[in-house]
Symmetry: C2
C-alpha cells in the first residue's frame, strides 16, 4: 500500500449484512445498550442532589458505547443477553469514563466532544474525585454479579492503570521501542475490550475456551483500534499537510509509525529528528511526514493494525453464524478504516 | 470542661491492660499486620521493574496501620485471624493509601511524614495514576476472597469517594452545617473504619448481628477520630496561641468547632468572622480562637468526639472479654486523646 498521501482513506462500505456503523446504533442489542445506560444513570442518581450539574455533564463523555456494545453483542452471539450482562456493561462503561475523566486532567484537555471537560468546568480536584467515584461504583456494580466478574474486571483495570502509568512515565522517551509501545496500548486499551469479550461470553454460558477466544477477539480489536487511533492523531487531521503536529507528538508521546520510522532511518537522521521533536521545532510536522513517507511507516502501522483486526476476526469463528457475529466481524473492518 | 487553653491535653494513660499505643505495635496481631504488609508489597512488586523508586517511595505513606490493625484485632477478638483477613487488611490499607496519594494532589501537599509527597517527587499525573492503580489492585485483591468482600469494600469506597467529593465541593462554603460536616466525615473517614470492623467480624465467623455491631464500632471510632483530627488541626499545633491558622481554615474548610461557634455567635459577629476567614485576614488565628473560647466550641467538639468514642466502646460489648477487646477499648480512649 503506497503512502504518498498519508491521510487515512475513507471507510469502505462494511462487508457484513446487518452492519450498523458504531455510534448509529447496534440494532440487535440497542435495547440492551439502553438498559446498561439506565443502570449507569441509576447508579449515579444518588449523587444528583449534591452534584447535579456535574453528574449531568458526564453524559457528554458518552460516545459510541463501543465497550458495552462489544460485551452485549458477544453475549447475544453466544446465546442470550442477561441482566448480569447489563450490569457488567454499565460497569465497563463507567471504568472507561473514569479513565477519560482522569485522562483529561493528565492532558490538561479543555474540550471533549465539543463541550468543556470536567476539569475545565469544575477543576482538577473535582475531576480526580469524580474519576475515583466512577471506578469504585463500577467495582461495586460488579460485586452485585459474582466474584468472577469482580476478578475479571479487577484484572482488566489493573492492566489499564499500569498501561496509563507507563505511558505517562515514558512521555519524553524518544527511544521508546515497539515493545514498550505495545505494552502501553495492551494495557490502556486492549485490556478493557478483552474484558468485554470475556464477560460477554462467560455470562451467556460460553465454555472457558470460547470465552477465551472472545477475550482474544476483544484484545486484538483493542490493539487494532488503538493503532488506528494513533494514526489518526498523527496523519488523519485536516491538517495532514504538516502544518500542525498531532497531539501525541506535541506531548512527546511516540506512537507506532514514528517508532518504526526512527528505527528505519539512518541513525544520524533519526537523532536529528529526535532533536527536532524534543525542541518542538517549527516545521516539524512537515519533517515528520517526510520521514514517515521515506520509511513507509504509515503503511507499516496500518498493516499492523490490519493484522490485529484480522486476528480479531479469526477468533470470531468460535461463534455460530448470525447477525451478531456479522456485526462483530464488520467492527473489525471498521476499526482500521474509521475516520474518527 | 473549660477551654481557656484550647490545646488538646496530653494523652492520659490508657485504661485497658495489654494496651499498646498504635504505632508502637498491636502485639496480638503484630504478625498479622506484617503479613498484610507482605501481601501489599507482593501485589505491588509486579510494578517494581518499570516504576521501582515510585513504588518504594510508597512505604513512606505507611503510618500507624490503624485500619489493618482494626480489621485484624476485631477478627482475633471474635475468633481467629484467617488468610482472608490478611488479604482484606492489605486491600483496605491500599484504599487508604490511594486516598492519601490523591489527597496530596488535591491539597498540593509537598511533605507527608517528613518526606516529599508523590506529587512533589513525580508530579500530579503520576500521582493520579498511582492512586488509581492502588484502588484497582485493592478491588482485585478483594475479588480473590469472595463476592461479599467485594461488595463490602465497594460500598465503603463509594462512601469514601462521595465524602471526599463533597468536601472538595463544599470548600469555601462558610455556611456549612453540622449535618454537612458529618456527611463529609462519615464518608471520608468512618466508611472505611466501619468496613474494617465488619470484615474483621464476618470472616472470623461472626453472625450478621455481631458483624453489624463491629461495623458500628468502626464507624463511631472513625467519627471520633476525625473530629479529634480536625481539632488537632485547628488548636493542637505548637502555634496554638493563634499565630497561624490550621490548614483546614486556611483552605476555607469548616470543621466542627468553627461551625458550632458560627452558630452560637450573635449573627453580626458570625458574619464578621466569615468575612475575616474569607479574606484570610491578618490576626485571624487569634480572632478564631477568641470566638471558639467565647462559644465553648472546642469543649463542644471534644464532647462530641467523646460521645462517638463511647458509642464505639459500647458496641464492643458484643465481644468476649480478652486482650483484643481490651486493646480495641483502649483505642476508643486513645482516639480522642492522641496528640498526633
Amino acid at each position: 500500500m503506497g503512502t504518498a498521501t498519508p491521510a487515512l482513506s475513507p471507510p469502505a462500505a462494511p462487508a457484513g449484512a446487518g452492519y450498523r456503523p458504531p455510534g448509529l446504533g447496534f440494532a440487535p442489542v440497542a435495547a440492551d445498550v439502553a438498559e446498561a445506560d439506565r443502570i449507569l444513570d441509576h447508579t449515579l442518581s444518588a449523587y444528583r442532589s449534591p452534584f447535579g450539574p456535574l453528574i449531568e455533564h458526564l453524559r457528554h463523555y458518552r460516545g459510541k458505547r463501543l465497550r458495552p456494545a462489544l460485551l452485549l453483542l458477544t453475549a447475544k452471539a453466544v446465546g442470550k443477553v442477561t441482566p448480569q450482562h447489563h450490569t457488567l456493561a454499565a460497569a465497563v462503561e463507567m471504568i472507561h469514563t473514569a479513565t477519560l475523566v482522569h485522562d483529561d486532567v493528565l492532558d490538561e484537555a479543555e474540550l471533549r466532544r465539543h463541550v468543556p471537560t470536567v476539569n475545565a468546568g469544575w477543576g482538577n480536584k473535582v475531576s480526580i474525585l469524580l474519576g475515583d467515584m466512577l471506578f469504585t461504583h463500577a467495582f461495586h456494580l460488579a460485586s452485585t454479579v459474582d466474584r468472577r466478574a469482580c476478578e475479571v474486571i479487577g484484572e482488566a483495570t489493573n492492566r489499564v492503570c499500569a498501561g496509563e502509568l507507563r505511558q505517562v512515565t515514558e512521555r519524553g522517551n524518544l527511544h521508546l521501542t515497539e515493545a514498550d509501545y505495545f505494552a502501553v496500548i495492551d494495557g490502556k486499551t486492549a485490556a478493557l475490550t478483552e474484558c468485554c469479550g470475556r464477560l460477554g461470553g462467560l455470562y451467556a454460558g460460553a465454555s472457558e475456551e470460547v470465552a477465551g477466544r472472545l477475550a482474544g477477539f476483544g484484545r486484538n480489536l483493542g490493539l487494532a483500534f488503538q493503532i488506528a487511533d494513533d494514526l489518526l492523531d498523527l496523519v488523519g487531521t485536516e491538517d495532514a499537510a504538516g502544518k500542525t503536529l498531532g497531539t501525541d507528538l506535541e506531548q512527546q508521546k511516540l506512537t507506532l509509525p514514528v517508532i518504526h520510522s526512527l528505527n528505519r532511518l539512518p541513525a544520524v537522521d533519526a537523532d536529528a529528528l529526535r532533536a527536532a521533536v524534543r525542541a518542538g521545532e517549527a516545521g516539524l510536522g512537515r519533517r515528520v511526514l517526510h520521514a514517515l513517507e521515506k520509511t513507509q511507516s504509515v503503511a507499516y502501522a496500518r498493516r499492523r493494525a490490519e493484522e490485529f483486526a484480522r486476528a480479531a476476526r479469526q477468533e470470531l469463528e468460535c461463534l455460530p453464524r448470525g447477525e451478531c457475529r456479522l456485526i462483530l466481524e464488520a467492527m473489525t473492518d471498521w476499526t482500521t478504516r474509521r475516520e474518527k
